[in-house]
């Protein structure tokens, strides 16, 4: 937590920020200017391939072999539709299991290879929608889902994904429609969770939390459903300021699925907001060296700084280098990550507001709104703060964190 500073505190902060940026700059400079090298021996191991890369390479080789054996002279004859559908499903499972960007990209490449003259099965369109959602192409994802639903209005998966995408982009009317359709389909647990998710961010958070808690107590649910309900309960309780309940639910999810990076990140952020950086550090330590988990690394730096512990220069350099790389993507850059870095590590508040605004144009979940509010307060941009207030008034969003940020002018 960082309060508006007095002049002395400002100077200290400025000095601290300068030192950090200097360290990042020096290490990054030495990193980027390190000459390329030619290994001395043929036996020198340069990389151990990740399971995801190995699996993708295997899939690509299989595709090439199939192409060769089918008909070398006819490039259109690649996989049969059945083989292709299986490959798409396999690639998607790999992508979600490993959270690997290449695997998501490979899934999309396989989907794009679908023969134009053959209609895509619903399963392929659902995967397509999920991958498009992953790459922030929300409207394109909804188009795929519309096609599925026009052929099969009772498709539950399509409705569930539709409601999630609509929640992300802040189209709450569409969410309500999907929740009704899910309820009409008679899948009560999903309908209840869908409705509760919507109510929890549109002014009925207490009611939504009670409904989810009652369901958790009263109804038999499978593990997937329980995780969904618990996460919903945890995030709603957190927004309402019920810290004990929120932590209890987050930890229950984590005990059910210890590998869940999503839950780890949410719980760590929650602990940071509760001024418990040491507990967050404990959760985030395993991600210190994982270049694939930049959000975890940024949270770890915040936690270390919050606990007054030294931040490893290599970690800062790694984050700085990855951010530099992401910035080169221009419009395609993940603005949320950039905003987090600019706000919490680089303390470049004006740029953080811009990144947070670009992110908020795309996605309007409470976490995105909190980030925007924090960046706006840090940079003292009252117009953006008003934009956030207007959104809260319009939607009825109850979020104790955002209220703290706006009323106390504190960055969370």
């Amino acid at each position: 937590m960082m309060k508006k500073t007095t002049t002395d505190e400002s100077k200290k902060l400025l000095l601290f920020q300068t030192v950090i940026l200097l360290v990042i700059f020096i290490v990054f400079l030495s990193e980027t200017r390190a000459d390329s090298f030619v290994p001395q021996s043929d036996d020198q191991v340069l990389l151990t391939l990740s399971p995801a890369v190995t699996a993708i390479a295997r899939s690509v080789r299989a595709q090439e072999r199939s192409l060769e054996s089918n008909n070398a002279g006819n490039a259109a004859t690649q996989y049969s539709s059945r083989e292709l559908a299986a490959a798409i499903s396999e690639a998607y499972t790999l992508a979600t299991r490993n959270n690997d960007p290449r695997a998501f990209g490979h899934t999309l490449s396989l989907i794009n290879a679908w023969p134009q003259q053959q209609p895509k099965p619903a399963m392929v369109r659902l995967i397509h929608a999920s991958v498009l959602q992953h790459s922030h192409e929300f409207m394109a994802a909804l188009q795929q889902l519309d096609t599925v639903l026009s052929n099969d209005p009772a498709n539950l998966q399509a409705r569930l994904i539709y409601s999630q995408v609509s929640l992300v982009i802040g189209d709450y009317e569409a969410v309500a429609q999907q929740c009704q359709a899910i309820e009409a389909a008679g899948v009560q647990i999903y309908a209840l969770n869908c409705g509760a998710q919507l109510q929890s961010i549109t002014g009925n958070a207490e009611f939504a939390l009670s409904a989810v808690e009652e369901t958790l107590l009263a109804r038999p649910t499978n593990a997937t459903q329980q995780i969904e309900l618990l996460l919903n309960a945890a995030t709603t309780a957190e927004r309402l300021g019920f810290a004990d309940r929120a932590e209890r639910y987050y930890r229950r999810v984590l005990s059910m699925n210890p590998q869940s990076l999503f839950t780890t990140l949410r719980l760590s952020a929650f602990l940071l907001h509760q001024s418990r950086p040491e507990a967050a550090i404990e959760l985030l330590r395993p991600y210190a060296n994982s270049a694939n988990d930049l959000e975890a690394q940024i949270l770890l730096v915040r936690a270390l700084q919050g606990a007054g512990m030294p931040v490893n220069a290599e970690l800062l350099a790694s984050i700085g280098a990855e951010i530099e790389s992401l910035q080169r993507l221009g419009d395609e850059a993940p603005h949320k990550l950039l905003a987090q870095y600019q706000l919490y590590i680089a303390e470049d508040f004006a740029t953080a507001v811009r990144s947070a605004t670009l992110n908020w144009k795309l996605q309007k979940e409470p976490g995105d709104t909190l980030l925007l509010a924090s960046a706006a307060v840090a940079s003292e941009q009252s117009q953006t703060q008003e934009q956030v207030r207007a959104w809260i008034t319009k939607t009825g969003l109850q979020d104790a964190r955002i209220q703290t940020v706006l009323s106390a002018q504190e960055v969370l």
Partner: protein, 373 residues
């Protein structure tokens, strides 16, 4: 199917994390073209080369330098078949040499030199197609320099070709792009819009008060609006340029507070004509302040030095277009509202109070951190 369903549900739940895991699978492409001679370098992740052509011959999941060295003809063939360069009507020659390794943030990369020969003049065409057929999330980030002019380009599955035609490289693209930014900024900048609205109302009401015939009213109103808008435009263009070039710099808080004050004062002028017939000098004075506000936005966009002039020009043109659309849209509405005496009085009082109140809230908030609402 159940497993797939669970996966789909899981990705719905966990999308924020999944989007956080961003690309380590970019390649970096640096190309210079000087009087027809091509030189540069290309860096591709070892993991990407494994996917594209297969390096792990013994399938032990470990990539050694020997495996890369032995695959060098395949790597060269792959690069040559996926990157095509032409100038004028002639295809350029392009070859690779000197494989080496470089450790980047995304892991170890194979780096190779590029060299070749193009025609000495004509438009340069570049087609980049590494990996897109097997990894749709791959991106090629290219730094291209043609006869001294340089730019950065991002190649993606939807954007695999690039044609560079002389000056278009560094001027027109940012110019067009920033026209959009300028229009967008004035449209979302409610303080600028309210100021314009208040000034327009002030002009229209003043001529109503001082002229009696309908022709005289509309001739003078039109002329006064043209003068006022031109003065505002000229003034904010001056400070936008001065501030963007860092010749004059003012604290953002001071500028934002002054803009809020300009809204309050211009709203008061609707009710009590304090500007008299001097709307254009006032618009000029406040325009200078609003220009600093625009510059703050432009500063946040982190313009590349080489594209600064075009971006600045584009942003300014965009602001003017956006402003013109607002003015043209408001004039008929105002004409209607002030046509009858009762609606004129109502418009005068309500708009003045509403605009002044909003302006005052901004003024207190921006200047003194007092949040009333």
């Amino acid at each position: 199917m159940t497993r797939l369903f669970k996966s789909l549900v899981t990705i719905c739940l966990c999308w924020p994390v999944l989007v956080a895991a961003h690309s380590l699978n970019d390649s970096f492409f640096d190309l210079q073209l000087n009087e027809g001679a091509v030189s540069g370098s290309l860096q591709v992740a070892i993991s990407d080369l494994e996917i594209a052509i297969g390096l792990d011959n013994n399938q032990d999941t470990q990539i050694t330098w020997g495996e890369i060295r032995r695959a060098s003809p395949a790597i060269a063939g792959y690069v040559n078949s996926r990157i095509e360069l032409s100038r004028g009507d002639q295809v350029c020659t392009l070859s690779t040499n000197d494989l080496a390794i470089e450790q980047l943030s995304g892991g170890p990369y194979v780096t190779m030199g590029l060299f070749g020969q193009c025609a000495e003049s004509g438009a340069l065409s570049l087609d980049y197609g590494l990996l897109f057929d097997v990894d749709n999330s791959h991106r090629g980030i290219a730094a291209i320099s043609v006869d001294g002019e340089s730019a950065t380009r991002l190649f993606s599955p939807a954007n695999q070709s690039l044609t560079l035609d002389g000056g278009s490289l560094s001027f027109w693209t940012p110019l067009i792009s920033f026209i959009g930014e300028g229009i967008w900024h004035i449209w979302i900048g409610i303080d600028h819009i309210l100021f314009l609205l208040a000034m327009l109302l002030g002009v229209v009401l003043h001529t109503h008060r001082t002229r009696t015939t309908s022709t005289a009213i509309w001739t003078e109103t039109g002329w006064s609006i043209v003068k006022m808008v031109t003065a505002f435009t000229l003034a904010h263009s001056i400070t936008l340029i001065l501030a963007s070039l860092r010749i004059v710099e003012l604290p953002a808080q001071l500028v934002e507070t002054a803009i809020a004050l300009s809204v309050v004062v211009s709203a008061v002028n609707i009710l009590i004509p304090i500007f008299g017939r001097h709307h254009w000098p006032v618009a000029f004075a406040f325009g200078l302040v609003h220009g600093f506000g625009f510059a703050n936005v432009l500063g946040d966009l982190n313009l590349a030095t080489g594209q600064f002039v075009a971006s600045l020009l584009g942003f300014n043109i965009g602001v003017e277009i956006g402003q013109l659309v607002i003015v043209l849209g408001l004039i008929p509405i105002l004409a209607l509202l002030i046509h009858w005496q009762w609606s004129r009085r109502l418009t005068t009082v309500l708009s003045a109070l509403a605009i002044a109140q909003v302006g005052m809230l901004w003024f207190l908030d921006r200047g003194f951190g007092v949040t009333v609402l």
